[in-house]
């Protein structure tokens, strides 16, 4: 028994050392973001004697951070919102309808998960350009198209454990499909909605390639703005690192509060 305890202690230490290793890139980023350009050159690892926060205010202004943060927020909230609403509705229609056609449509949605973005990227941009939809509305619509497959798949899976007798009872009480879905089914689906929401938020908030093809600089999201910003400051790491830190802070704050949900959501999404 004693040996077992000692083994656990060793593992505990190994784990903590690995955690430090995992965190070290963040340490390096933060510690160098409060140095002057000269100090980074003389010592890249240590904590500086004097902390400079000027980098942050400069980067904050140059990133136009509040503006790009709001842009990211708008795109993410609207896209994820409509993905949740419309995917849940579609999955409900597909799961409850046992016809051949319904099965085929579900199969198309699942099969669409195999299509990589780059293989439709060029025609997509060209088509949306033709109808002048290369803007925020167009982008949100694209996210619905790309995000709905996995979301429908996940909703479909959990709908099969929601008893059809619930629908039948409500129909007898005189409720129509719309009412049944919103009053009875959708509330039951809340756990899977959380999973769908988390997976899509992680993807859309961080996505770079699609917004870079669709949005102009005015409506740039954080990753997009970060790319422009970085191009401007390639040799000025003190500013670049402060900018990167600013971009990461909101994500870390959310993670800190919702980590249990996030890890569970990702786990459910991957294993199902």
């Amino acid at each position: 028994m004693k040996k077992k305890k000692r083994n656990l202690l060793i593992l505990e230490i190994v784990g903590l050392l690995l955690a430090l290793l995992w965190l070290s890139p963040f340490y390096i980023m933060i510690v160098n973001s409060i140095k002057t350009k000269k100090e980074i050159f003389s010592d890249v690892i240590g904590i500086p004697e004097e902390w400079t926060f000027e980098n942050f205010s400069n980067a904050f202004i140059d990133l136009d951070f509040i503006h790009s943060f709001i842009n990211s927020l708008i795109i993410t909230i609207f896209s994820v919102g409509i993905i949740i609403i419309f995917s849940a509705m579609a999955a409900y229609a597909l799961q409850r309808n046992k016809s051949k056609l319904s099965g085929m449509i579900f199969f198309i949605f699942v099969a669409a998960m195999l299509i990589p973005f780059q293989s439709v990227m060029i025609p997509l941009v060209s088509l949306f350009g033709k109808v002048e939809m290369l803007n925020q509305v167009g982008l949100i619509f694209m996210y619905l198209g790309f995000g709905s497959s996995l979301s429908i798949f996940l909703y479909h899976g959990s709908l099969s454990s929601v008893a059809v007798s619930l629908d039948e009872a409500a129909t007898i009480d005189g409720a129509n499909k719309w009412q049944i879905f919103w009053r009875i089914i959708f509330p039951i689906l809340k756990p899977i909605s959380v999973t769908v929401g988390i997976l899509n938020v992680i993807w859309i908030w961080n996505d770079y390639l699609l917004p870079s093809l669709v949005l102009n600089e005015q409506s740039a999201t954080i990753p997009l703005k970060m790319f422009f910003f970085f191009g401007q400051y390639t040799k000025q790491w003190h500013l670049a690192l402060a900018g990167l830190t600013i971009a990461i802070i909101p994500v870390i704050i959310v993670y800190f509060f919702a980590q249990k949900h996030i890890i569970k959501g990702v786990s459910d999404g991957a294993v199902k």
Binding site: P25, F109, I115, M121, G145, I263, V266
Partner: protein, 286 residues
Amino acid sequence: MKNKSLSFWLFLGPVLISLCVVVLVPLIYGFIFSFTDWTGLKGSNFIGLENYVDLFKDKEFLQSIWFTTKFAVVAIILLNVIGLGLALLVTRKLKSSNFLRTIFFMPNLIGGLILGFIWQFIFINVFDGVGKLLHMEWLSGWLSTTETGFWGLIILTVWQWAGYIMIIYIAYLEGVPQELIEAAEMDGANSFQRFRNVTFPLIRPAFTVCLFLTLSHSFKMYDQNLSLTAGGPFNSTQMVAMEIYKTAFNENLMAFAQSKAVIFFIIVAGIGLTQVYFNKKKEVDL
């Protein structure tokens, strides 16, 4: 009855339209114009299979496929070994178990573009600084050669993705019945034997999932590639996704890029279909 089918289509409408407009129509449209010489401007001619013949002579494209394949093989091995290792560690009864999961998973939440920039600083400046301090010359000049660019991408990917792979293994490890492990312990099996003969066969489906996830992730990687090495030096660390992007939007060879995209689609969809096949087989075995 009529009413029923109306509500069916109304519920389905929004996603069906968006899937068609955003994915299916571009896929078919792209397939068709990969047989033309379209360059993004008006007008194009049908040129048959010429693009497909040319792409097998395009050194940069072939090199990007080779580089991506090499990358995928190394990434799969390292990610699964390290991901499983981390999962085994944090499923022991450690006090810090939850804390460790949180930390290892953290890089997944941050965009590949931003992570690539951070690691660019680490490889170029921090490695160099440490190398000078410890007189290790091999730490200098990272990302300036193909070799260090390759390992740089691998280190970044492993650091970012191992936590995700860990989460998947954890889900399967927690499904292993505790009685079986205890029974094996009673029979005198040591911890390696217990893992080899009890746990390992039971979590085998996790290997399939993780294998294909890492494979398709490697093939689709773009952001990290762009921000860490931008394909340099001399396009030698350019992966397939980036090569297609460059052909289309930097060289304006839209139709030629689309023929590469079609090949890319066949590779990625092929990987996915193989996974589906293995999953089905597994279900039969159970």
